[in-house]
């Protein structure tokens, strides 16, 4: 495990909140406001960590366990997600399955924590969360499958290594499609517009926010930090596809960081440009993403 | 005792018993029935052993003839009558309309043992004419057993049974005559002796033998309840008192089939082709299918069992038509079905007495109402529809082997289809009758006689289903060889 391998996780840990801040800042800018400072997410998390907590009357320890477990899974995910073709801290055949498993575990924990409050709002949010997740999981698997087929590897490290070097040479079309579906997944998994509006104040329209409505204090801090990390992780999967061929590792890493920044801005733009879909149309959005990857796969087969 | 005497004794005991009943008191009558049946069973068993050991036996200068085939049937006959007599005592002892008046008791005893004698006569007679006489006698003797308690329905059933079977038997006699006439060169006075006819050197006229078999098949087939000439059967079985129904299903039908089977080897020999076998297979399959159809929508428990008899007689006929292995299976099935069906009729009969109806929408909760008969009902019907570990599963397995061996795929398919239909519908009826809360009847227990009958029957069904003694296999093989060729 060399220095660059360690760089990626550390960068994520440090910069993930900044990524969120950048998105918000972009949205504010487009809306013509000054908006919160870039460091605002750090402050929020820090503030929350120092606050006390309030729990519903019927809750069990599960409600406390949820955020912890969710955050932990994402921290571990950081270890296996490669960054900019520099490979991942830990890389082994089938690690992408573990990644999917980790996401599933984190989600399950969050959902149960939400249901533990016994509030109908959390129930509603959880229901929507599992609904969309159930569709997003195959999408993610197919996208990764396409990459595996392109690169002939089943560990993220070598997949991204190969993509960055050879991938674009012959399978550009497929890669582009996969890229798009990754972007969609980024929006879906992290409940961004057009799937969900993290800044809305109408509970009935929320997904992720309403699910964590009754979390407070450190728990909420964990959740927000976790959300930032998840944005970063999936973003890394997307940015990693970029053709950084034949440049030095450190240069590639810095380019990738730029890429992440660009992604944040892009998300910001999307969020400002698009309106939130009606809940019934969201599944079509996700299935569309899955279809894109599937099409990409077919392209490879024929 | 020498086999010959055993044969005479069989007839003698039965006849004497029948006559004795005419003068006896009601209670002793039923006891006497049990005793006589027991003696008959003993005699039959000894005869069976003797035949297996020393080969076929004859008596009264070849008027009587017993080989492995008929000896086996004699044993089954004895067993069925013993069980039925045991049950009859319980059944008639029960109060209410089913109790026996003095005259009714005498009538029952005389007719019961009389029909026993008649069936023995059928089984032991070497002369096809005498066999026919015995068969006709069974019809006439059993007719009034059906209407033991005369009422509109039982009389109607009795009249149908009487007329249809008499007509059928008449045809059987025509067949008998043709068979005798078809012998070339003529055997003179021995023209009706089965041993003579079955002798390899006998030559037949094919056309006459063909006609003869057709008449015999239709004639005795009417009595055996093969579709489509089974129409009397459900009526008679549903209206007769339970012990009588049990005896009908348990052995009367098999007796008729036995008569047909006596002709089959002759026909095979005369025509040298599968004419007889094809007819048996055809009517067997048809009976199975028709019975299955009727079982689907049956409401009356005893009619249900009656159609089961049609089905199983069909299975047996089918087996006889499928070569040596099939014949083996058919014989095995005969025993299983007789025991099983008797038991089923006992259980349903007792329930019917207590519920005052045989409507399966009325019968319910047998297991709670009377554990003994509930158990009997469960075992017997489960066995009837071919659930392992009961012996009928095994005999049907043997039948399947025979069918596959004969390459009779269509028949196999139809048989499996029909038996599945029967399984599904009969199972539903069984569950309704056995489980749940008994509505409209009070719990009751029956004494040692009942327990004995149930224990023996279920024990045999289970034993033959799990461990068939090897000597029994040999015995069945011999019996099969007598009419169906060697295994």
């Amino acid at each position: 495990m060399s220095l660059p391998h360690l760089f990626a996780p550390v960068a994520a840990l440090l910069l993930a909140p900044l990524f969120v801040g950048l998105i918000n800042r972009t949205k504010a800018f487009v809306a013509g406001r000054r908006g919160p400072p870039l460091a605002q997410p750090y402050r929020d998390v820090w503030k929350l960590l120092r606050r006390g907590a309030v729990y519903g009357e019927v809750t069990t320890p599960l409600v406390r366990l949820g955020p912890v477990l969710n955050l932990a899974t994402l921290l571990v995910a950081l270890l296996i997600v490669p960054f900019a073709g520099a490979g991942a801290a830990v890389s082994f055949t089938g690690d992408l399955i573990v990644l999917v498993g980790l996401f599933a575990l984190g989600r399950f924990a969050t959902v149960l924590a939400a249901l533990d409050t016994g509030s109908s709002f959390e129930g509603m949010g959880a229901s929507r969360e599992v609904h969309f997740a159930a569709l997003a999981e195959p999408a993610l698997l197919i996208a990764l499958a396409t990459l595996a087929r392109i690169t002939g590897a089943t560990d993220l490290g070598s997949i991204y290594g190969a993509v960055a070097t050879a991938g674009w040479a012959h399978d550009a079309a497929a890669l582009a499609l996969v890229g798009v579906s990754f972007l969609v997944l980024e929006l879906v998994e992290n409940s961004r517009i057009p799937v969900d509006d993290p800044t809305t104040h109408l509970e009935l329209t929320m997904i992720h926010e309403v699910m964590v409505l009754d979390h407070s204090g450190p728990d909420l801090g964990f959740i927000q930090y976790g959300a930032a990390l998840k944005l970063w992780v999936i973003g890394a999967l997307l940015i990693g596809l970029a053709p950084l061929h034949g440049v030095g590792v450190w240069f590639a890493l810095s380019l990738a960081l730029l890429g992440m920044a660009w992604l944040a801005v892009a998300i910001g733009m999307i969020e400002s440009a698009m309106a939130r879909y009606r809940l019934v149309t969201v599944p079509q959005f996700i299935v569309g993403a899955a279809t894109l990857s599937a099409v990409a796969f077919m392209v490879l087969l024929v | 005792m020498a086999p010959g005497y055993a044969i005479d004794a069989l007839l003698f005991v039965a006849v004497v018993g029948a006559l004795a009943c005419l003068v006896a008191q009601p209670r002793p009558v039923l006891a006497m029935a049990i005793a006589v049946s027991a003696v008959e069973l003993g005699l039959a068993a000894s005869l069976w052993v003797a035949v297996l050991a020393k080969g076929p036996a004859t008596a009264e200068d070849e008027l009587f003839f017993v080989d492995a085939f008929s000896a086996f049937h004699l044993v089954v006959l004895g067993l069925v009558f013993l069980l039925c007599s045991l049950f009859a005592r319980i059944y008639f002892a029960d109060d209410g309309e089913h109790g026996l008046t003095k005259s009714a008791a005498r009538r029952f005893g005389a007719l019961w043992l009389g029909s026993l004698a008649a069936m023995v006569l059928v089984l032991v007679s070497n002369n096809l004419g005498v066999m026919w006489v015995g068969m006709e006698a069974t019809t006439l003797l059993t007719a009034f057993l059906i209407s033991l308690h005369p009422n509109r329905l039982s009389l109607e059933a009795m009249w149908k049974y009487l007329l249809i079977c008499s007509v059928g038997i008449a045809f059987a006699f025509i067949g008998t005559i043709f068979a005798a006439a078809s012998v070339q060169g003529g055997l003179g006075a021995d023209a009706l002796l089965w041993t003579r006819l079955a002798a390899p050197e006998t030559q037949f006229d094919p056309t006459l033998m063909t006609f003869a078999f057709v008449f015999v098949l239709v004639g005795y087939g009417t009595k055996a309840g093969l579709a489509p000439i089974h129409s009397w059967l459900p009526d008679a079985h549903s209206q007769a008192p339970a012990p009588v129904s049990a005896m009908f299903s348990g052995f009367l039908l098999n007796t008729a089939l036995y008569c047909i089977l006596r002709y089959v080897p002759l026909v095979r020999h005369a025509l040298g082709n599968g004419f007889a076998d094809h007819l048996l297979v055809f009517f067997g399959t048809l009976s199975i299918l028709v019975a299955a159809g009727f079982i689907v929508f049956q409401r009356d428990a005893k009619r249900l069992l009656a159609y089961h008899s049609v089905e199983h007689l069909g299975i047996i006929a089918l087996g006889y038509g499928l070569g040596p292995l099939g014949t083996f299976a058919a014989l095995f099935h005969t025993l299983n079905h007789s025991i099983c069906k008797a038991l089923a009729f006992f259980a349903v009969g007792r329930l019917g007495q207590r519920f005052g109806s045989h409507d399966m929408h009325v019968l319910s909760g047998a297991v709670r109402l009377t554990p003994l008969w509930g158990f009997a009902l469960l075992v017997s019907i489960l066995a009837l529809i071919g659930v392992a570990p009961f012996s009928i599963f095994m005999s049907e397995y043997q039948l399947l082997r025979a069918a596959v061996g004969a390459g009779a795929w269509l028949v196999l398919t139809l048989f499996l289809f029909a038996s599945s239909v029967v399984f599904i519908s009969a199972l539903r009826h069984l569950i309704d009758m056995s489980f749940g809360d008994p509505k409209g009847a009070l719990p009751f227990r029956d004494g040692t006689g009942a327990i004995a009958a149930v224990a023996v029957s279920t024990g045999l069904l289970l034993l033959l289903g799990l461990w068939m003694p090897s000597w029994f296999v040999v015995a069945l093989g011999r019996a099969a060889a007598a009419v169906g060729g060697r295994l």
Binding site: V54, E57, F92, I97, G123, V130, A134 | T210, P389, V473
Partner: protein, 660 residues
């Protein structure tokens, strides 16, 4: 081997003893339970010794029954399948006595059926003779009938028992034909003779495969032959359901695998058939499960789903054999077989948990339950572990087998052959859908039953179960975790079984499995990290909150200050989005009275999740057939002279035919 025979004897005799002294309930219960546990332990001993020794034991006696023989053998494959049979049996027995504690006196007789079921399953697994196999199979089909109809006072139970036995009998019919056919061609009913006739003859092979797939599939619960599961499992006592779902349906899988070993080189389309059956059963099973609001029905449908997963694995393995890719063979079979054991563990656990819930709250209707985790913490914890395991979450046993399966999918993707790659993609899509939906379904199940506030008085006053019941659940839960953490070793340990099931040399299998277990080793390390991290975070928040303080308050009600328990999200509403999305497949019958206007009158929602195949396929078929059959009535019209005419007509027809 003697241990096995001994265990069979103990089981049967103990069962009979329980029946005999059913009058003295306590004694009967004791005998039945003791026999079950002792017998199962003996059986486990036999199985394990074979697995360790690695070489089969075989005995055969002469059986007078023509066309049959008494030949039993424990080889690695049999021993492997004996593990769930005896393991689950022992634990359900431990559980069952307390469960039946306050049932009606006759209940003790159920030990007979329970023990006979175990014995019969074991006999099926070790039988090496067609007729013996069929006999054991039929007993194994009959014993549960009496378990299903245990609570026979309820019409629904009687109906369930009927459907169960009818379905299983239809399946057996195909097996009858298969074995009779094989015995006829081979000239012997001994398994040894089958492969000889099968190797050469591919048409026969395909025929036998189809018969086996239908016959064994109906027992295992492949869609559409699954209809009996959702009826039978809820009806039976929970520990019986655990045994049936945990062990009995696996015996169907065993039969399939055993036949595959005898069938020799498979044709490609067999693999595709298995894969298709698996994917269909998996996806439909979990979808139907989503629509349920009866906990045990829900679990029953998850059995269908998991059987689907197992079949996908075996399908991949068979495809690998057909196309000559040892890696696929190893991974596919390993995934399928491991999932057999895993499913019997967590499904057993979940059914036992459901049993405890029923015992405590007297219902398994989701909408009546809630908040049980605080009232029955142990049961709740075990059920949670079981749910996480069945969903396939790391680091539990379910994850290991699903990891192997998805891994084999990816392995297939990398192969140049388009066909295999397509198969791999199918696997991935199916697994993705299944695990996602399963997560949704168990979030719903666990959430509604154990979390939130109780929705009924019974749930309000629920109490924790008796120690023995907890004991068996805890044991199973521990097994879930243990296998999950021991993943790498488990996978290596499968080598022998996979070799036996696939017929490939174990060296080849081992070589193919090593990378997978290597990855699992690393993955397990990661999970260790995960646990450590979670612990750290937990301590950190604890430390923070120790200062900042914690208080309880009503949850956010959007300003509404008086939330009642009825306002909680119900199971139906939780699943509604997905159920609506897949309504084409689920075909749920819903009766909705939507609230209207500003001051809506009473509104209501009712959903009936009767099985679509039962409702739309089987019932109409039977009704139609009944209609057809009842037409026969016209020939039995009661007019005697026409009856006589039948006789005459038959005679004349035959005469005419004969004289032609």
């Amino acid at each position: 081997m003697t241990a096995l025979l001994l265990s069979l004897t103990v089981l049967s005799l103990g069962g009979v003893a329980a029946l005999v002294c059913v009058a003295r309930a306590a004694l009967a219960h004791f005998l039945g339970q003791a026999a079950a546990i002792v017998g199962s332990l003996l059986g486990l001993e036999a199985a394990i010794s074979v697995l360790l020794a690695g070489r089969p034991y075989s005995i055969s006696w002469n059986w007078p029954m023509p066309g049959g023989g008494l030949h039993v053998e424990i080889d690695v494959l049999s021993a492997f399948f004996l593990l769930p049979v005896f393991g689950v049996s022992a634990l359900t027995a431990l559980y069952g006595r307390s469960y039946l504690a306050n049932a009606e006196p006759g209940a003790a007789s159920s030990w007979l059926h329970l023990n006979l079921l175990t014995a019969a399953m074991a006999l099926v697994v070790v039988a090496r003779d067609g007729l013996l196999f069929l006999l054991a199979w039929e007993i194994m089909a009959l014993a549960p009938f009496f378990l299903v109809i245990f609570d026979d006072r309820r019409e629904s139970t009687r109906h369930a028992a009927w459907i169960y036995l009818a379905a299983t009998h239809l399946g057996t019919t195909f097996l009858l034909v298969m074995f009779v056919l094989l015995a006829n061609l081979a000239g012997t009913s001994d398994f040894g003779g089958y492969s000889a006739v099968l190797r050469g003859n591919s048409a026969l092979g395909s025929a036998v495969f189809v018969l086996a797939l239908i016959g064994f599939g109906s027992k295992a619960g492949i869609v559409p032959a699954h209809v009996w599961l959702p009826e039978a499992h809820p009806a039976a006592p929970s520990h019986a359901s655990a045994l049936m779902s945990g062990a009995m349906i696996k015996v169907g899988i065993y039969g399939l695998v055993r036949m595959l070993t005898l069938l020799g080189m498979p044709r490609p389309w067999w693999g595709w058939a298995l894969l298709a059956a698996g994917a269909t059963s998996g996806v439909l099973g979990v979808l139907y499960a989503l629509a349920q609001h009866d906990l045990k029905r829900l679990l029953a449908y998850h059995s269908v789903e998991n059987i689907g997963i197992i079949l996908i694995g075996i399908g991949i393995g068979v495809l690998g054999l057909a196309y000559g890719h040892p890696a696929l063979v190893a991974l596919g079979f390993a995934a399928g077989l491991l999932h057999v054991v895993n499913h019997s563990i967590f499904k057993g656990l979940l059914f036992l948990g459901a049993g405890s819930v029923q015992h405590a709250a007297h219902t398994v209707e989701l909408e009546e339950l809630g908040g049980l985790l605080r009232r029955m913490p142990w049961t709740g914890a075990c059920f949670l572990i079981g749910s996480a395991a069945i969903v396939g979450l790391p680091p539990l046993n379910g994850f290991i087998s699903e990891f192997l399966l998805i891994y084999s999918g990816y392995a297939g993707l990398l192969l140049p052959a388009t066909v295999i790659a397509a198969a791999g993609l199918v696997t991935l899509v199916a697994m993705g859908l299944i695990s996602g939906l399963a997560a949704a379904c168990f979030a719903k199940a666990f959430g509604t039953v154990f979390l939130g506030a109780p929705r009924s008085g019974e749930a309000e006053h629920a109490h924790e179960s008796a120690p023995p019941m907890l004991g068996s659940m805890v044991l199973l839960a521990v097994l879930c975790i243990a296998i999950g953490l021991a993943g790498p070793f488990v996978v290596r340990g499968l080598t022998g079984v996979v070799a036996a099931a696939s017929g490939l040399p174990s060296t080849e299998i081992g070589a193919a499995l090593d990378p997978a277990s290597g990855s699992l080793a690393i993955a397990t390390a990661l999970f260790a990290v995960l646990v450590v991290l979670s612990a750290l975070l937990w301590m950190m928040r604890g430390w923070r909150l120790a200062r900042a303080g914690v208080r309880r308050a009503p949850v956010w009600g959007c300003g509404f200050r008086r939330p009642t328990v009825r306002m909680q999200y119900t199971a139906s509403s939780f699943a509604q989005p997905l159920v609506t999305q897949f309504r084409l497949l689920i075909a749920n019958r819903e009766a909705v009275v939507a609230p209207e206007g500003y001051f809506p009158a009473a509104a209501s929602y009712a959903s009936d999740s009767g099985d679509p195949f039962l409702r739309l396929l089987f019932v109409p078929t039977f009704r139609w057939f009944r209609g057809v059959a009842s037409r026969l009535n016209v020939i039995q019209h009661g007019h005697i002279h026409i009856y006589v005419l039948y006789v005459a007509a038959t005679l004349i027809a035959l005469l005419a035919w004969a004289s032609l």
